[in-house]
């Protein structure tokens, strides 16, 4: 990206300056423009800070990447090619936006049209004529969608460049082909939405698009990544299929969703992926027949064409007769009822929704790992030999081709144990890991009580890789209010077979044949039959996610180094914090797995959130850790933002900084180590702390302030997603302690460019900034922040700290303060039990050089929380404290939750929110803006 390079160099300059300029004064209020400029600089900065040791060419290093040691860095640059959007300088994106909203969109559309037509001819060449119609249709759709699409998803792209269009083909569940044109850099999500729209499907969260990678493995298309980067050189051919098999299909809201699930299951059954007994084949077949053909007509000789249906992998005449016989008893059943019955029976099959992966146990015995809604199943041949329910799993990780799960100790056991499996290769290990993470999130990170916490639910709802958890998707679909959509049930299961009724030889073709017919693109047929071979021959379940597929070109040495440092950190962390562990887990017995091995037993009974107090860790460590955080996939899209604005009336009573911040720091550091482990996934290994919701909140709070506030939050917090909230809360008070001091002019000593964001905090004058700054918030914000933080770090200790909590897969918290490095560092901790998301909290605060009495928390006089709902959700907390000098101080914390998908202008909303806050309390100053973003995870490079 040219832009970035440009900013890079800018930044470089800045960067050079900074060390010395640290003290340079910042104007109290920085003009908005300046700010954004500096922001841009900062965003570039991160890259260049790290660049000396790293390969020069990498610009896209995300977030804290600057902390990466050179060796790590290099890996990254080679192995991950991150989506560009997120790294685009803020300024650019802002410009783009305007362009789009103003006339730009139209232009684009035109451009697009042109290209479309070009491409269309190309596309139609390899598409059969029959599809022409469809294609046209999709084109139309596309045009409609162009503007929103670009505005949101592609906001970071340069629009003045001509859009390259590409035609892609999606095989639908009924075997038909859906073709549409895409801008070459479109994200998976875009295509997915196109398909869903075509299907008229609202309950999309159970579904996904997959493609075949160059090793013929089926990979899930990450909605948040550019398609092109995921499929690499493969064909633009995808398959629409069920990704998360709903545990109870009757809870699906719409018949069309059930119908699609039926189609998937029929396919699974026909391909032998879902084993059934004869009786079950017959029964399910009879429902299929009823759904597709209606009541049995005795005059018809159904048996004549019944063999066009595929009810089982090895269909016999006997089975067909049984099917017809059973169907007679379904007389009067509507197609929807038949589908429902079909699902009621299919869902009980033991392999329903189980995603199988070949592996070996510690003894080298061939086993299968089955990932399902409830946990991880271990099979040897067809026998289930072990099972690890999600609640029993503390952590999921992989390292090279090994896949590990850390098991919660059973009642009788003292130590947790780690069970390891050997996968065929690194990618396979990563795939299992990925699938586990996804399933855990989707099915487990949900609790029924959440439904009452709508506010929080919304908060969490957009995080996930696939959008939502099952509970959330259920909730969402309960709101579906439309007339039952009409849809055609196609007899997709037809297969032309020889008249003698011999079982079909090539099972796999059938779905293809049904939809595409002979005209289907040869390529697809090919791949299909291949997949079938694999499926049947090796019994692989081919649903995989591609999210984690990047792979390392790292040298072995690098890997080892990396691992060494990680394990070292881990170890020290472990030693440092022996903690009681949450006991809320269900009391399933822990047997010792039959064939699995216990790899290691750790001395620490439990991994628990460290308490800050107990921990003392030096700054260097945290610095070391940071690289890990870098490993995180980029944020592609901001889905949500939480903005905490604190307004503080500052009494004039400077007080020395006390120990509080320090304490906090420790905590943060500790946490960071954890983050280390979980973040590392993008590296050779990854960990996922599968802690259940709510596990440890209470233990880990670092609090010095209003207890009520915390408690309230905690209680409110639904176990899973919301966890992050409370914790953040807990930390914030601590942080705020620092800020509560009067903002002094000298804060400005900070370089201007350094913390553009910080300026807002600075005093009354700063508010202009507020209005301005927010707009930048969106995707770029993290960058900027990171950039600045990096600088901080360069200068001193860990001012920027990333904290991760066990349940989090990708979480990042960055706190940046304006304060001198010399001054205390701010630390924030947060816990987010989210899997496929990246969460960031960015804190901007005014520096308060002279510490005020905050070292001591002061006496809490009043604290009240008001929650109001408007555009966004706002929670306001007033805290009045008595400080040292007998002065009292009121701090108002506003928590604003902006939720929305990419279509929402977060910047705008943020700006608005801040402006409103300012207006409401003109006599107060904003000391800190914490932007907490939870975004869907962008994936690492492929």
């Amino acid at each position: 990206m040219t832009t970035e390079v440009g900013s890079d160099s800018d930044v470089k300059k800045d960067e050079e300056k900074t060390p010395g300029d640290q003290q340079q004064t910042d104007k109290p209020a920085e003009p908005p423009q300046e700010k954004s400029a500096s922001i841009e600089a900062e965003s570039g900065q991160e890259a260049c800070v790290s660049s000396p040791p790293a390969a020069g060419g990498q610009k896209k290093e995300k977030t804290i990447s600057r902390f990466l040691p050179p060796w790590l860095k290099r890996q990254k640059s080679q192995s991950q090619d991150k989506p560009s959007e997120s790294s685009a300088p803020e300024q650019e994106s802002v410009e783009l936006k305007e362009e789009q909203t103003d006339g730009g969109g139209a232009e684009q559309t035109e451009e697009k049209k042109e290209e479309e037509t070009e491409e269309k001819s190309v596309g139609s060449a390899d598409t059969q004529p029959v599809r022409e119609e469809k294609e046209d249709e999709s084109e139309l759709k596309e045009e409609e969608a162009v503007i929103p699409h670009e505005a949101s998803v592609l906001s970071g792209l340069k629009l003045n460049k001509k859009m390259k269009m590409v035609v892609c083909h999606v095989t639908l569940l009924d075997g038909s082909l859906f073709s549409c044109e895409l801008e070459k850099r479109a994200k998976g999500q875009y295509l997915f939405f196109q398909v869903c729209e075509h299907l008229n499907l609202l309950e999309k969260d159970y579904f996904g698009l997959s493609f075949k990678d160059n090793t013929e493995q089926r990979c899930w298309l990450d909605p948040n990544k550019e398609i092109k980067r995921q499929i690499r050189n493969s064909q633009w051919q995808f398959t629409f299929s069920v990704k998360f098999y709903p545990l109870d299909p009757s809870q699906l809201t719409e018949d069309i969703t059930r119908y699609l699930l039926c189609l998937q299951l029929r396919q699974d059954i026909a391909l032998g992926r879902l084993p059934c007994s004869f009786v079950t084949h017959a029964l399910l077949g009879s429902y299929t027949l009823q759904a597709e053909l209606g009541d049995h007509d005795p005059d018809e000789h159904r048996l004549d064409y019944i063999s066009d249906f595929q009810f089982a992998p090895n269909q016999t005449k006997e089975l067909e007769e049984k099917v017809v016989e059973l169907q007679k008893s379904h007389r009067g059943m509507t197609p929807a009822q038949s589908d429902a019955q079909f699902l009621e029976n299919a869902k009980k099959l033991s392999m329903y929704g189980v995603d199988l992966h070949h592996a070996k146990d510690s003894d080298g015995v061939d086993i299968m790992l089955g990932v399902c809604a409830n946990g991880l199943l271990i099979y040897k041949d067809r026998l289930r030999i072990n099972r690890f329910a999600w609640p029993k799993i503390l952590k999921i990780s992989y390292k090279r081709s090994n896949f590990y799960i850390k098991i919660r100790p059973g009642e009788a056991e003292q130590f947790e144990s780690t069970v390891g499996f050997k996968l065929p290769n690194h990618r396979a290990a990563k795939r299992v890991w990925k699938v586990c993470v996804e399933h855990h999130t989707f099915f487990r990170l949900v609790s029924p009580e959440q439904s009452t916490k709508t506010k929080f639910l919304t908060l969490g709802s957009k995080f996930r890789y696939s959008g939502r958890t099952q509970a959330q998707t259920r909730q969402a679909s309960s709101l579906i209010d439309r007339p039952t959509p009409y849809f055609q049930r196609t007899s997709s299961k037809r297969l032309s077979r020889s008249l003698d009724g011999a079982p079909v030889v090539s099972v796999s073709d059938y779905s293809q044949a049904a939809g595409a017919g002979e005209n289907g693109p040869p390529l697809e047929l090919n791949s299909d039959s291949k997949s079938k071979l694999r499926v049947q021959g090796e019994n692989i379940y081919v649903r995989h996610s591609n999210l984690m597929l990047e792979d390392l070109d790292k040298t072995q040495e690098d890997v080892l180094k990396h691992q060494a440092s990680i394990s070292e950190l881990k170890r020290s962390f472990m030693e440092a914090t022996p903690e009681p562990r949450p006991s809320q887990w269900d009391k399933r017995l822990t047997g010792s797995p039959a064939t699995t091995l216990r790899m290691q037993t750790q001395g620490v009974p439990q991994e628990t959130p460290p308490r800050p107090e107990t921990d003392s860790r030096d700054a260097s460590k945290s610095a070391e850790v940071k690289p890990e955080v870098n490993g995180q996939p980029e944020v592609v899209e901001v889905v949500e933002e939480t903005v905490v604005i604190e307004e503080v009336i500052k009494p004039r009573s400077p007080a020395p900084e006390a120990s509080v911040p320090v304490e906090t720091e420790c905590a943060a550091e500790v946490k960071e180590e954890r983050s280390l482990s979980s973040d590392s996934d993008s590296e050779e290994e990854a960990e996922y702390h599968a802690q259940p919701p709510s596990t440890s909140i209470s233990i880990q709070q670092i609090k010095e302030e209003p207890e009520e506030e915390q408690e309230a939050e905690l209680t409110q917090a639904p176990p899973s997603v919301i966890e992050s909230q409370p914790i953040t809360e807990a930390v914030e008070p601590a942080l705020s302690a620092e800020e509560e001091k009067p903002a002094e002019p000298h804060e400005d000593e900070h370089t201007d460019d350094r913390e553009p964001m910080a300026t807002p905090d600075e005093g009354p004058n700063g508010h202009a900034l507020h209005a301005e700054a927010p707009p930048t918030a969106e995707e770029e914000e993290p960058h900027i922040v990171n950039g600045s933080s990096s600088r901080v770090e360069a200068e001193h200790l860990p001012q920027v700290i990333c904290c991760l909590e066990p349940p989090v897969v990708k979480t990042e918290m960055v706190t940046i303060s304006d304060t001198f490095a010399a001054q205390k560092t701010e630390i924030s901790t947060k816990e987010v039990p989210i899997v496929h998301t990246e969460t960031k909290t960015i804190t901007y605060e005014a520096a308060q050089l002279d510490g005020n009495g905050d070292g001591e928390p002061g006496v809490l006089m009043t604290a009240q929380t008001i929650t109001s709902e408007s555009l966004c959700t706002t929670t306001t907390t007033h805290i009045t404290k008595t400080l040292k000098g007998g002065l009292s101080e009121t701090r108002i914390e506003k928590r604003i939750v902006i939720t929305g998908d990419s279509d929402i202008d977060h910047d705008q909303a943020l700006a608005q929110a801040i402006k409103e806050a300012k207006e409401q309390h003109p006599d107060m100053s904003v000391t800190r803006v914490v932007v907490h973003k939870e975004t869907e995870l962008a994936e690492d490079k492929d």
Partner: protein, 286 residues
């Protein structure tokens, strides 16, 4: 599956008479001191209870003296729904016991499947029905002296709709010696240490939740639960004489009709109530 119904609905029972050779082992030899007449009486009580109290259709296969262990009819077949798998007992001599059973099951229009050839995939597979606990939702196969992994695999291949989990048999020679079903979601299990170990494994492996009825005596752990045609819950359990301490546990089962059924002679040979009958549900499922 459609054929997944709550455990316990049965319509037919198949039993086999106690032969003159009762007490002898299949491979010959004297075995233990047993009372043939008492054993036959106890069998009579059992069949009477099944037929008259519970209301099942009872099919009794005549005893054959040459097959001294043929009364342990549970071992020779595993039946679920309309499918019966003829097992392959460990003792070669017992494998002929299946012939009559096979015939009866076929007459009942069950799909009768075999373990397969001695050669090939199922080579070396052994499986006895008393090592198989079917809960209505899944199978647990006890890996014991009598049943090996191979056998369990064949079972898994036969009943594809269900999860088949293997568990070690601790504290008994067969899985059903230490546990049995006491209701649609209830497992009765001995409170011995070995049984607990097996139970832990079962609980780890299952996706479902079962109530556990723990009984102090091993012998009490084997009961026969049947939900009769009139929707009454019946539990055939060893008598107070055999398991004095466990009877209170059974009485905790509310709304059950308890049918104390003596089985002391059979238990001398390591068998139990469930060993004596095959239960079948011929109710039309669809």
């Amino acid at each position: 599956m459609a054929n997944i119904y709550p455990y316990g609905c049965f319509t037919h029972a198949v039993v086999r008479g106690i032969p003159e050779s009762f007490g002898k082992l299949a491979e010959g030899g004297e075995g233990l001191q047993t009372d043939l007449a008492k054993a036959q009486r106890q069998m009579g009580v059992l069949t009477g209870a099944l037929r008259q109290k519970v209301g099942l259709q009872l099919i009794e296969i005549p005893a054959v003296t040459e097959l001294p262990e043929s009364w342990r009819i549970e071992d020779v077949a595993v039946i679920q729904g309309d499918t019966a798998l003829i097992t392959r007992p460990l003792k070669q001599q017992r494998r002929t016991e299946a012939e009559a059973v096979r015939r009866v099951l076929s007459e009942l229009k069950l799909t009768v499947l075999e373990m397969g050839d001695e050669e090939g995939r199922s080579a070396g597979a052994t499986l006895e029905g008393s090592d198989v606990l079917f809960t209505g939702k899944e199978f647990f196969v006890g890996i014991s002296k009598h049943t090996n992994h191979r056998g369990a695999e064949v079972l898994a291949d036969t009943f594809k709709d269900f999860a088949v989990s293997t568990v070690p048999v601790c504290g008994g020679s067969r899985l059903k010696n230490i546990c049995s079903m006491g209701g649609p979601d209830t497992i009765i299990i001995s409170s011995s240490d070995g049984a607990k170990k097996t139970l832990r494994m079962m609980e780890q492996l299952t996706d479902h939740h079962y109530e556990i009825l723990s009984v102090p005596e091993d012998v009490a752990a084997n009961c026969v639960y049947i939900r009769g045609p009139a929707k009454v819950d019946f539990l055939l359990h060893p008598t107070a004489e055999e398991c004095p301490n466990s009877v209170p546990a059974f009485q905790r089962l509310t709304d059950y009709t308890l049918l104390p059924t003596a089985c002391s002679e059979a238990s001398k040979l390591g068998a139990a109530l469930s060993s004596l009958c095959l239960l079948i549900n011929k109710k039309p499922n669809y």
